[in-house]
């Protein structure tokens, strides 16, 4: 299964506005994307399109997360979501 790691760049972590922007983007991608903290079992991965899941994940700035997806367009979707996570969305 394609997967990518990304380092959270937003100052406030994956909360508030950055979480909303990311969840919305994940929801719009053609495949289901999951998110987990790096090093945690794949079974614990959460739905990346769920803002409530992202909030309970509690990823702070500098934390490394793993995104996973399967199916047509998975690689492209993952790449664009990684870019989003590695942008400081609080600065916009």
């Amino acid at each position: 299964m394609p997967e990518r790691t990304a380092t959270i760049a937003s100052r406030s972590g994956l909360h508030a506005r950055p979480a909303a922007i990311f969840a919305e983007a994940a929801g719009e991608s053609p495949v289901e994307v999951t998110i987990a903290m790096a090093g945690s079992p794949a079974d614990d991965a959460l739905d990346a399109a769920s803002i409530l899941s992202l909030m309970t994940l509690g990823a702070a700035k500098g934390d490394v997360v793993v995104l996973r997806a399967e199916g047509d367009g998975a690689d492209a979707a993952l790449d664009s979501l990684v870019t989003l996570l590695e942008t400081d969305l609080d600065a916009e």
Binding site: R17, A20, D47, L52
Partner: protein, 562 residues
């Protein structure tokens, strides 16, 4: 022309169309099952459709909003169709045969609790999940969404009562007046209306039956609402627009016509309020409600955090008096680190100064923080304890202040026992401030939030005025001219303010919006006339007569629509 009579709590005369505030969404009964005619599949589809339409509505509102409000609405809209929430509700429908309403209710509760337990920013979002849940249930039931109706055109809001949380969504540019069927003169609706300067009537029975869109005339001073406004009422509403402009400016000099000075101070809850009050001409702060800096906190703020919050208020009033009230937790303002939420009778429980009996140390640390903040500013800082009942408590509080290096300790007089023994209480401290909201509630044994008791719960009660008089007399007996001020809502009523001055009160502290009206009326009477009006009010058999008799002698009130 049909008339509804309630209690006027914030002056102003306006004409407008009404919108009813939808009733809060009730909890679907525990264990509620799918109707026999509904399959689980249909219920899940219905839930998804309802969630989608709640999402769309919130998203549409977010698109029109800006700033912080926009971000919160965007996040809330996403919660409405969140997979975590909907999957757990779907599971309850499929596995337990729950109704869609009950399923989303329970799913929302567990997600909200999870966020609450995470603390910090997440805990603040927990209530958003509950709001989304209520909206989805309303959508499933086909009833209007809870909360203040969204509207682009101004309207008069009619509700049963408003909660403190409603203030956040109340836009004074859209809501032109507030009318409630419940609540009393000291209810949250009244306090919100006065702080926003909105005309308001509370405890007006029957107003919840008026249909949406009806045109009405509201008189916030007379406490009335009329259907089908007359020509006179239309003229009165026009005149109010002009009066309101003059009543918005206070010249910063509280005095009677003959030059007896009565400084007019503001009640504030934090630095933002304080800056607004200073801009409105307040001559200082008569009540700084410190607990408002920390209402959302689960844990005690550190000494330095507290000092920073207090300094924000002190800095708005360099060279002027700022009277700070130590944490007044309990009853309707619980603080988890101080109060026991399980008390059967919180208004008579461990609240205010009394929390020092059960949680010693918090008050010492607060006094330490106040002393640090006071040292760094030019404000003249006075500190008072809420809910003092005996001279011994006053003495103990004064010794704590002394130990912390605070020069001017004082007490709130809210408990009738403190009013009755004010000479001995004042021997230990430098000043007293009458909290008329609680003093009325305790003197009349009437819960201030209850609509049916609104008539009892007014500071116009001759018994309450008598307690004010006794407190002032106690100060005279004590012999050192220690000031007795008023910092309850009573001070914001221009007619009652005159009576209080006549009773010998030395300062009046109120919501900053009321300063100009009180200052304007006070300037029209001499001290002797005020004393005469005070005697008149004390001689009245009841609150209604006391108010009517005094108002009849102050024609300027009618002239200005106050």
């Amino acid at each position: 022309m049909q008339n509804f009579q309630g209690v006027g709590v914030s002056p102003g005369r306006v004409i407008g169309t009404i919108r009813q505030m939808p009733k809060p969404v009730s909890e679907p009964p525990s264990g509620e099952q799918l109707a026999a005619s509904t399959t689980a599949e249909d219920a899940v589809a219905g839930l998804k459709a309802a969630a989608q339409s709640v999402h769309d509505e919130l998203k549409a509102r977010a698109d029109k909003a800006s700033g912080d409000g926009k971000a919160v609405l965007e996040a809330t809209a996403l919660m409405a169709k969140d997979t975590m929430l909907l999957k757990s509700a779907t599971k309850l429908i499929n596995n337990n045969g729950s109704s869609a309403e009950r399923a989303i209710w329970e799913a929302g509760a567990s997600v909200s609790e999870m966020l609450h337990n995470l603390g910090g920013y997440m805990a603040e979002r927990a209530t958003d999940v509950l709001d989304v849940r209520a909206r989805i249930v309303a959508e499933l039931r086909g009833v209007p969404a809870p909360g203040i109706p969204a509207s682009d055109t101004p309207f008069i809001l009619v509700a049963e009562d408003l909660a403190p949380a409603d203030t956040a969504t109340l836009d004074p540019a859209v809501v032109t007046a507030l009318v409630t069927s419940g609540g009393g003169p000291q209810s949250h609706t009244a306090i919100i209306a006065r702080s926003l300067g909105l005309p308001a009537v509370v405890a007006a029975r029957g107003v919840d039956e008026i249909p949406d869109g009806a045109e009405v005339f509201v008189d916030g001073a007379a406490g009335s609402l009329s259907l089908e406004p007359s020509e006179e009422q239309r003229a009165a509403a026009l005149a109010w627009v002009e009066n309101a402009a003059t009543l918005a400016v206070f010249d910063g000099n509280g005095t009677t016509a003959d030059g007896h000075l009565v400084p007019l101070l503001a009640n504030v809850g934090g630095a933002k309020d304080a800056a607004a009050a200073a801009a409105l001409g307040a001559q200082g702060v008569g009540l700084f409600r410190t607990e408002f800096c920390f209402l959302e906190r689960d844990t005690e703020p550190t000494v330095l955090e507290q000092a920073a919050a207090y300094r924000g208020v002190f800095d708005a009033f360099p060279g002027k008096k700022v009277v700070l009230r130590t944490l007044d937790a309990g009853a309707d303002k619980p603080l988890p680190f101080l109060t026991d939420a399980t008390e059967p009778n919180p208004a008579l429980g461990v609240r205010g100064y009394r929390t020092d009996f059960t949680t010693p140390g918090v008050l010492d640390r607060q006094l330490e923080a106040i002393a640090i903040a006071a040292d760094e500013t030019e404000a003249e800082v006075w500190v008072m304890a809420p809910m003092i009942s005996t001279a011994a408590e006053a003495a103990h509080f004064a010794s704590m202040c002394d130990a912390a290096g605070i020069k001017t300790p004082g007490v709130m007089v809210e408990v009738p026992s403190a009013a009755l023994t004010s000479a001995s209480v004042l021997r230990h401290v430098g000043f007293a401030s009458l909290g008329t909201n609680d003093l009325t509630q305790y003197a009349m044994a009437a819960d201030r939030q209850l609509g049916p008791l609104a008539e009892l719960n007014t500071p116009w009660q001759p018994a309450v005025l008598r307690l004010v008089q006794l407190t002032v007399a106690g100060s005279a007996e004590e012999g050192n001219g220690k000031p007795v001020g008023v910092c309850g809502e009573a001070a914001a009523d221009p007619a009652l303010a005159v009576v209080l001055v006549g009773l010998g009160v030395s300062t009046l502290s109120m919501t900053a919006r009321s300063l100009a009206a009180v200052g304007t009326v006070l300037k029209t009477v001499t001290l002797e006339q005020a004393q005469e009006l005070a005697r008149l009010a004390l001689s009245a058999p009841d609150a209604l007569d006391a108010k009517a008799w005094v108002r009849a002698k102050l024609p300027i009130l009618e002239e200005l629509g106050l």
